[in-house]
């Protein structure tokens, strides 16, 4: 009676770019649901978990990691061609991740400081979110992504509805949970007011400030919060550095870092705008 109950199992791929593997591990961390999910979804590409390989086509592909090498650039375009729905998972794929903090610095200097033979290291001048290069159909935020949100995404995929992924501030979840604001009651700088919820307001529950791993929420007034941190006694570059974490390259945070300072490898107060590779091959 109701349409679309017996469609074939969707083909899912998991693809990794520059990342720590933690977000795809979250798929394996769905312990209670993992085998049920595997019965309903055809996991055709997931090298961390299975030796079966497929280069597509995919109904849905989950992309972890930032685009930071020429090879990854080729990969992401190839994956986009093969994927009906491309979903970025985690802070690296959605915002560039921690490695995007190098985008303010001189890439060659960075490379030379870490590698004895920088000439052998192939990497792009910047590490950027996937959406800077190809069209992205959906995203799961977080460093790492949240298991409940991942399961909700899968459930929505299987039941044909929109995933219920609120874009409100961490504060909303924090207050529903009955936590006391660490910023107001203890003077601890907290990115919760400008950060998207999804973690369950984890850090304030552990007596520390949110460090923004789900990235800016909609219309994040990061500049006002940065000014408040300074008013609370932080030096401007320190205030900027609080934003220069796992999602610091996402625009409203990026602007605060550029304005206040705090990017690695850049003297305080001298932060230029981050480098951008533009959109070399077709763009979004």
């Amino acid at each position: 009676m109701v349409r679309a109950t017996s469609t074939p199992r969707p083909r899912l791929g998991v693809v990794k770019l520059a990342s720590c593997d933690g977000c795809q591990l979250m798929l394996l961390n769905l312990e209670d649901a993992l085998l049920s999910v595997a019965e309903r979804i055809d996991i055709v590409e997931f090298p961390e978990a299975t030796s079966h390989r497929s280069s597509g086509p995919y109904d849905v592909v989950l992309v972890e990691g930032a685009v930071s090498t020429p090879e990854q650039l080729e990969t992401i375009h190839a994956v986009r061609r093969e994927a009906k729905v491309l979903v970025t998972i985690g802070a690296c794929a959605t915002a560039g991740g921690i490695q995007a903090m190098r985008n303010w610095a001189n890439h060659d200097a960075f490379r030379a400081a870490v590698y004895a033979h920088p000439e052998y290291v192939e990497s792009l001048a910047t590490a950027q979110p996937v959406s800077d290069y190809v069209k992205v159909d959906g995203e799961l935020r977080g460093c790492p992504i949240n298991g409940d949100q991942l399961l909700e995404f899968v459930t929505a995929l299987l039941t044909g509805r929109r995933a219920n992924l609120p874009d409100e501030a961490v504060c909303a979840a924090c207050k529903r949970a009955g936590r006391v604001c660490v910023m107001v009651s203890q003077g601890i700088p907290c990115l919760g007011p400008v950060t998207m919820t999804g973690c369950g307001a984890l850090c304030p529950g552990f007596d520390r400030g949110c460090y923004g791993c789900f990235g800016p929420r909609e219309q994040a007034n990061a500049a006002s919060l940065g000014r408040q941190f300074v008013a609370m006694g932080e030096a401007p570059a320190e205030a900027g550095r609080l934003f220069a974490g796992f999602t610091g390259y996402a625009p409203p945070f990026r602007d605060v870092i550029t304005e206040f300072g705090g990017a690695p490898g850049v003297p305080a107060g001298h932060a230029p705008s981050p480098a951008s590779t533009g959109t070399p091959s077709g763009g979004k």
Binding site: M1, V2, R3, A4, T5, A33, S36, V37, R40, E152, V154, T155, L158, T159, G160, R161, R162, N164, P166, D167, E168, A169, C171, A172, K175, R176, A177, G178, R179, V180, C181, V182, M183, V184, S185, Q186, G187, C190, G192, P193, V194, D207, E218, Q219, N221, S224, L225, Q228
Partner: protein
Amino acid sequence: MTSSAVTTVIAEPRSGTGFLPRAEFQHLIDLLAEDGRTVIGPTVSDGAIVYGEVRAVTDLPVGVGAEQSPGRYRLVDHHDARYFAYAVGPTSWKRFVFPPTLELAQSHRDEQGHVSFGPVRHEIPKMAFLGVRACELAALGIEDRVLLGGPYTDEDFRRRRDNALIVAVQCAEPGGTCFCTSMGTGPGVRGGHDVLLVELADGFLVSSGSEEGAAIVARLGLADATADQVVEGSDQLVAARDRIGDPVVTAGLHDRLLAKLDSPRWAEIAERCLACTNCTAACPTCFCTSVSQRSDLDGHTAVTERRWDFCFTKGFSAVALGGNFRPRVQDRYRQWLTHKFATWIDQFGTSGCVGCGRCITWCPVGIDVREELNLIAPPPVLGTEAQAAAARAPRTSVFHVDAVRPETHDTVTLTLSTPDGMDWSRLHGEFVMVSAPAIGSIPISISRRLPTGMELTVRAVGPASTFVTGLERGAEVGLSAPLGHGWPVEAAHDHDVVIVGGGMGFPPLRPVVDEILAHRASFGDVHVYHGARTPGDLLYKEELAAWASRGDLEVGVTVDRADATWLGRVGVVTQLFDHARWDGTKAIAFVCGPERMIQATVSTLAARGITQDRIFISMERHMECGVGLCGHCQMGPFFVCKDGPVFSLAQLGDVFGREGI
């Protein structure tokens, strides 16, 4: 200082009041617990005085207070033995009578498409609230009006309220952000409590405010307080009042605030405002909620969960296809402030603010409403009319899909019937909430009333509407009510009638045409105008032709664009009648469509002589609950779902067409 316009009658302890020595306070806690009550009161946790379970005196904030200022809260040590020497902290009693998340219902859809809905009834523990302040009693009273005072009621809230015994404690240490004096709610307790305590240096004055409270006081077996002790208590209250002063000039605030909807200050506040929702979460009267569905992997079993929501988030006022009526933070701040201090009065006969100061203390960037109100404008005399109404909770019934008729490529008309034999055609209301397990609920206007049910015309724009348009004959779906206020067709008796429906705004008007045709002689000339995007988007084409051929009503149809095969009219819907020859001074108009189309239409109608009180329009807003309890569809002083969606233009006043309202 204390120049509040309201003369307050303070429930001060009178002689005969008992005295409970400090050393015996545990006795009171034990008495409450003996009755099977969970005692909830102040306790120190995570750097603040919050409300949590209190089993012993040692759980209380003994000798602890707090300094409060905009955006700042710090515990301080008083170096004394007092238990209640603090101003209200981050928690409010709202959490215990109106939980942050609440399972509302469970629904099920089996392989054959049969659906069922079952409300969840929660076990409510017996509670005692210890340490309730005057401002908090006022807040509970406001919540009573909002959640129990309308045609629909929140029964879970009612049961929690009924299960909570209130032990109030007179305020002695107001905080740096308090302004109850201005809002006329404190610092003195004025009723609503069961037991009242006044904390003195070596013990408590104890009196009762209800029979239940009197019984508890009697069981304590106290000696009478001395006159000196009573004086010590009242001196304390006077001192508290003096410390707060009267920071907000509230006389005329309602009108002054609403006159400043275009103040540049709103944009300046938005420069600072983080829209983080802390003010609304901390507020003891904010009551907005959203519902969402959680389901199993196959979508067969789903749980509907309600959670606190906040008018500061963008999604709160979002409607289908990315539309949003309050797109900017300044719109949302204005909505919150004007609702709290002005339109709340229009809706509920009381201000929505009790002056507890939580929104000031707990704002991370320290925005101070006292300052903002005085900058933008000033306030009110409290209305006190309580609206008694029969308790009514919206119910979800299962309907069968009897027929599915495609209207256009993305729009279908479903014929629904209910097996319970109720004559739905006689129930008032303009729309229904259609629920699909695991998908969610959406409001859909009734496009025809039938004795056994109704027709719904639905366009597939999002997952829920796509689900509804995808229902096939024989499927089952959940429906709530008919809800809202519909078109006042009876008001058009003996008048000419002009009906203008644009796009998906036409289906809600079809029942109006049905009603008129059923009693054709009761109406004058009738004009029906329908505009659509393209010829392919026109609705009810055969019916329109049939109506036109009757000869007793004018039917005009136009489209915004067409190819060369279309021989009908092309142009906006207003062109159908801007040179019409009918006389608007004898007409009543019913208009529905996108808001911008309604604006163009009403100005054309006005030019034809139809006055504002005779133009009725239907408004679109984000609807979540459909019965005026969730707060999403707030528009000026109205909830669109409950007070509308049909309004007269005169009723809306300058709320209509205003940006970001």
